[in-house]
Symmetry: C2
Subunit: 380 residues, 2 copies
């Protein structure tokens, strides 16, 4: 395969270095903001040098961001080139268009590294759909927040200390909003749900709560209930559409989810025949993520290049049937009507089992007067 | 695909039922000890009806046992048929011959369900080898013993009570030896190591200790060290050959392995680029195991039918370089020389870090006078 790299940052360098040892993958051109010894003779500042080159059959997009990634990917596919991307932002935003173009132009479109970094999640999710029915997916899809919560939990750090340490280690960005507010997870859940449930789950329809206002008392509350606090995401098949949400959750200490250490990810699918299957590993990082890009390329080279799910009809997201008890910590408890409260202790309370929709409505309501309010679903 | 089933027990019925809904897989003949409505018109008592039928292109072996499974599998391959098996006994015993026949006759040989039941372990292990170097594999590969140890741990049951309950639930056989003495795990480890390290790991060369003599005091000892007792198996790439062993181990409470619940399995590979990747799910059971057989069949139908690893040169198993502290509980402590002892407390002791080879030699030595001695590696 004659391939070109769009982007030569953390992931791009990893892909280039692994590919250098593989006879199957020849990376002949690299689009990058600056040149260096590694890409000398292959470097270009101009995407046209790649997109208009008929010798290049496969384009690897690892630039990140929605634009111009989408324009480059679509132009590559229009030109009959296979594409592989690790970029969840562009996949979540242009999922329907990318799948449609791939079908129309009969080119491969793969994005395993876009969800779960180095974990072969999307490719297994797609494989396990065969002869089976996926009923639920979910888990820990963001290593940064898992690292922060673990550090707060094990070392008693407060949120800002733990975040600073995550930034120092390179786990968190300078602007950590996408991680800590759950938007990164929401994109990954939307892509996973689209593949699992054969349709298009719009990230904008997924209610999302993050961990920005998490306090050590929230972690203590979890411990009192023999649980651990994690930021997780879940989507389930329902009679009409799907349910899907991103939120902090209390998971029982005896569960696999509770034991996901440091910055790892763990995602689980539930299928009628296969039962529960979990996949854990590095959700980010140069070589793990690059490895998943490389495996997508090798799959294409071996002729297994089709996208994981060809259907792109919109999936209706309905969160009214999944009932859970929820934990709230708020200075505005009056925003939570007495008839849904199961128990109170100071500013902390637990609700009776209520729908995900209702929980997010309550959060929105109390956040009007208490922007530091915190909420977590209680899993059993 | 026109396929035939050899065997119509737990797994065979599962395969037949899932295949019934799949246009790709037509199961036209079933070898079984007795007939019933489900296989009416397709049943035969005579394997020749299948092996000599040129219309049948794929043979699915789910009889179990080494003979006549090996004879049937080899005859099918000789006749140019693809084979899929869920039978770890025959794969571990005839690994080299099965791979050689598959290469010679250019037919598919797949056995994903032979290790890890419903977990897509072997197929991911094989996939992750591409462009990477697997350095270590291992984990919990037997649900029966994990169930027994969990029940002893959480409910204070003694070994025989927990075993009886496992038998009542169908998790353990009437003769549970293969599970509780570790032989089942040893086979699964040998097959996994053969694929991970590109050679043939002979199950007979893998030192194996089981849980038959496990007492509640051994579990308490683990808890005192913030650990959990599990039966696990590990194999690592070494400079000359590999290390490989099956043994009870103490795993830290904070690890994923410690949280594997009930009768689940969790296996992990470590690779240079991908890092640690773990796969967890049902290690046995009708539909999970059948599902993995079905996915092997669909892979073959899609043209991805090659075996996971074509190399079958013998792998030397050397357990002299992996050093661990070990826990022993024995009435014959004089069998353990003072210079390797780190700490003693009554009949329980911990060694200094010693090789796996030395630990198994010590166990063998003390078992001469104390057949109920118990040993576990201490993982950090």
């Amino acid at each position: 395969m004659k391939a070109a790299l769009l982007g030569h940052g953390t992931i791009g360098v990893g892909v280039d270095r692994i590919a250098a040892a593989l006879p199957e993958i020849d990376i002949v051109r690299v689009l990058a903001l600056e040149t260096d010894d590694e890409i000398l003779g292959r470097h270009t500042y101009d995407a046209d040098d790649i997109l208009n080159d008929p010798e290049i059959d496969t384009v690897i997009e690892v630039m990140g961001g929605i634009h111009p990634a989408w324009e480059f990917l679509s132009r590559a596919m229009e030109a009959g080139k296979n594409v592989v991307t690790a970029n969840k932002a562009v996949v979540a935003a242009y999922y329907r268009e990318l799948v449609a173009l791939s079908l129309e132009k009969k080119v491969a479109f793969r994005c395993t590294a876009a969800v779960g970094g180095g974990i072969p999640w999307l490719v297994n999710l797609s494989r396990e759909k065969q002869g089976d029915c996926i009923t639920k997916i979910g888990g820990i899809m963001n290593g940064t927040t898992n690292y922060i919560l673990s550090k707060m939990d094990h070392e008693g750090a407060d949120f800002s200390e733990a975040l600073k340490e995550a930034q120092r280690l390179g786990y968190a960005e300078k602007d950590p909003s996408a991680d800590i507010d759950g938007d990164d997870v929401r994109r990954k859940l939307a892509i996973s749900a689209s593949i699992a449930f054969d349709g298009f789950a719009d990230e904008n329809d997924v209610p999302t709560a993050g961990i920005r206002s998490c306090l050590s008392e929230d972690l203590s509350f979890a411990h009192e209930r023999h649980s651990v606090l994690k930021l997780a995401a879940f989507a389930s098949r329902k009679e009409l559409g799907i349910s899907a949400f991103v939120s902090p959750v209390l998971v029982p200490e005896s569960s696999l989810l509770s034991s996901v250490p440091g910055n790892l990810n763990l995602v689980t699918l539930t299928a009628e025949h296969a039962g529960e299957l979990s996949f854990a590993g590095q959700g980010a990082g140069r070589f793990p993520t690059a490895k998943n890009v490389i495996l997508d390329l090798l799959d294409i080279e071996a002729g297994n290049g089709a996208f994981y799910a060809p259907e792109t009809q919109p999936l209706a997201i309905k969160n009214d049937s999944e009932l859970l008890p929820w934990y709230f910590r708020t200075e505005s408890p009056e925003g939570i009507p007495e008839d849904v409260v199961e128990a109170r202790e100071g500013r902390r309370l637990i609700t009776k089992p209520i729908s995900v929709f209702q929980a997010f409505s309550l959060l929105e309501n109390i956040q009007k007067s208490d922007s530091a309010a915190f909420m977590a679903g209680i899993l059993s």
